[in-house]
């Protein structure tokens, strides 16, 4: 029976991979420019497989640490970040980076805080929800929908919300002299972006140390060593001393009541790093793949003589939904939330909502048809990759959400959607990628995200305690 299930799962897994292969070959036969979209697709598939294999969820990193004292995911994420940082340093030093640093300011921490609460409520971060959707979890699909809808509405909301915009933001936004199709004074997010965020400094660790980020020293010492390795090591040391060390000593050195040797501490630290092999392996492959994607996408841009997928889509005959600059969202690396906003934005547009007059869609990202949106290919393939891995491990299972979980999914997804737009990205775009690239705003978002996770855990501790007490009331111990 079990063998029959496994064989069926394997057939489905092969079917999914075969489908993506067919899409790549057929679309390439139609137009060679589809190779650009296929590159996104195959990296998405790798990300999905890695995330599912390592149960790799940024939400669980600090949530599990605060809630149940388990550090495995913080470790996994730091491994992935360091590996990604190393490959990124190489990519930056060769001039092939597709990364653009974000403005640094307190807004990143506030955004991270809102996002952090949301990811604990939702039961998964933005990327975690994608891979869990690939496991057949209905609640993850609700989270994705909630993130997508919230963002699409939030970036275009004006009217009464314009009254909440400080005068200085409005004046500064007007002074930017944006194209007339973008009504910058109508929309809270527009004025937040053009009137506040864009005025904040862009800081990379390499530049703070007086280096250029495309130089060997800037990329490897400034952005990688100082910006990634040292903070990640310190963070893991904090996790080791506050959450792991006591249990490790109790188990491995039960008699050592007093001081332990440096060698013992180093062994304990390394044991923590290797405590979950699955997570460590996933982090390793993920980190390398993330760096390689930049290299591949930049290579394709050079091959086709473009700096963005917008002109390629035009050449392929798709000119609907391009931004006023003729561009579409095309990060060149792993990203999650913007494409989620785009597909809902596209539907809203089709239903008659004029949402191309805002900065997010109209000036920067456009709302191309999801079927030819490069980043959407990546996200869909990520879900497919997670499904492949879940099927191969006999972990795929369709599950309907309960009303309780659906409620948390909607609330959490909405908070993540708002946090993403305030922070210009999610746990991947605003934290993982920026930290790995030596962008100081990545760590600021991360600090907020950790704080948000702590608040979310405090709430869930209260909530579950209440529910369990009710359930245990009739049990005689």
């Amino acid at each position: 029976m079990e063998d029959a299930v496994n064989a069926k799962n394997r057939r489905w897994a092969l079917g999914i991979i075969g489908f993506f292969a067919l899409v790549s070959v057929a679309t390439y036969a139609y137009s060679e420019y589809y190779l650009y979209l296929s590159a996104y697709l195959w990296f998405g598939l790798i990300y999905g497989m890695c995330l599912q294999y390592g149960r790799f969820c940024f939400a669980s990193a600090f949530r599990d640490l605060f809630a149940v004292g388990v550090p495995r995911m913080v470790v996994g994420i730091m491994i992935a970040t360091v590996l990604f940082g190393l490959v990124s340093a190489f990519v930056s030093a060769t001039g092939m980076s597709t990364f653009h640093a974000a403005p640094t300011g307190v807004h990143a921490t506030i955004a991270g805080l809102i996002f952090g609460v949301g990811m604990v409520f939702a039961g998964g971060c933005a990327s975690g929800s994608l891979y869990k959707a690939g496991e057949g979890k209905g609640v993850a699909m609700i989270v994705i929908l909630s993130i997508s809808v919230t963002q699409a509405i939030f970036v275009d909301i004006g009217g009464w919300f314009n009254k909440l915009v400080p005068d200085a933001w409005r004046a500064s936004a007007i002074a930017k002299k944006l194209p007339p199709s973008v009504t910058v004074t109508d929309g809270w997010v527009d004025q937040y972006l053009a009137g506040y965020v864009w005025n904040q400094p862009i800081r990379k660790f390499s530049k703070l140390l007086g280096m250029t980020d495309t130089s060997l020293s800037g990329a490897f010492i400034g952005d990688f060593l100082v910006g990634v390795v040292i903070p990640a090591t310190i963070l893991l040391l904090i996790v080791y001393f506050f959450w792991y060390r006591k249990g490790y000593r109790k188990k491995h050195h039960p008699g050592a009541a007093g001081a332990t040797s440096l060698r013992q501490e180093a062994t304990g630290y390394w044991t923590m790093i290797m405590s979950s092999k699955r997570t460590a392996i996933a982090g390793l492959v993920l980190g390398i793949a993330c760096g390689l994607q930049m290299f591949v996408i930049e290579g394709l841009r050079i091959k086709y003589g473009v700096k963005n997928a917008g002109p390629l889509l035009s050449k392929m005959g798709f000119d609907f939904g391009l931004s006023v600059k003729g561009t579409v969202f095309d990060p060149g690396y792993w990203y999650v939330t913007t494409q989620e906003a785009q597909w809902v934005g596209w539907i809203l547009q089709k239903l008659g909502w004029d949402n191309m007059d805002n900065i997010f869609f109209g000036l920067n990202n456009g709302i191309p048809n999801p079927a030819i949106n490069p980043a959407d290919w990546m996200s869909l393939a990520l879900i497919g990759g997670a499904a492949v891995m879940a099927l191969l491990q006999n972990e795929f299972k369709w599950s309907k959400p309960t009303w309780e979980l659906a409620t948390w999914a909607i609330i959490g997804g909405a908070l993540m959607g708002i946090g993403s737009r305030l922070g210009l990205g999610c746990n991947v775009g605003a934290f993982f990628v920026r930290v790995a690239m030596g962008d100081t705003s990545g760590w600021l978002f991360g600090i907020g995200m950790i704080g948000g996770a702590y608040i979310g855990v405090k709430f869930f501790n209260w909530w579950t305690e209440r529910k369990l007490a009710k359930e245990m009331a009739s049990v005689q111990f």
Binding site: S60, R72, L405, V457
Partner: protein
Amino acid sequence: MAMKFEKKSDGVYLLDCKGYVCPHPQIYTKKALEKLKPGDVLELVFDNASSSETITAMMDAAGHEIVEQKHEGGQYIWKIRKVA
């Protein structure tokens, strides 16, 4: 499906977290074990794959013993003996 906790027999308790995603199964497991006496067995049922890694790590750190692990059709049925 709502979370269920019941006594199966003397010293054996059932915690059913089917349908729940993170962080619910791990938090309920931790809280349920806190209520049990050393030597008691908790039969834990859940179907959220990512919780399995976390609960394994939790048990390892706390010293509780996972005496039986079954994984069928995406569902996990584990028996955990509280040690201390």
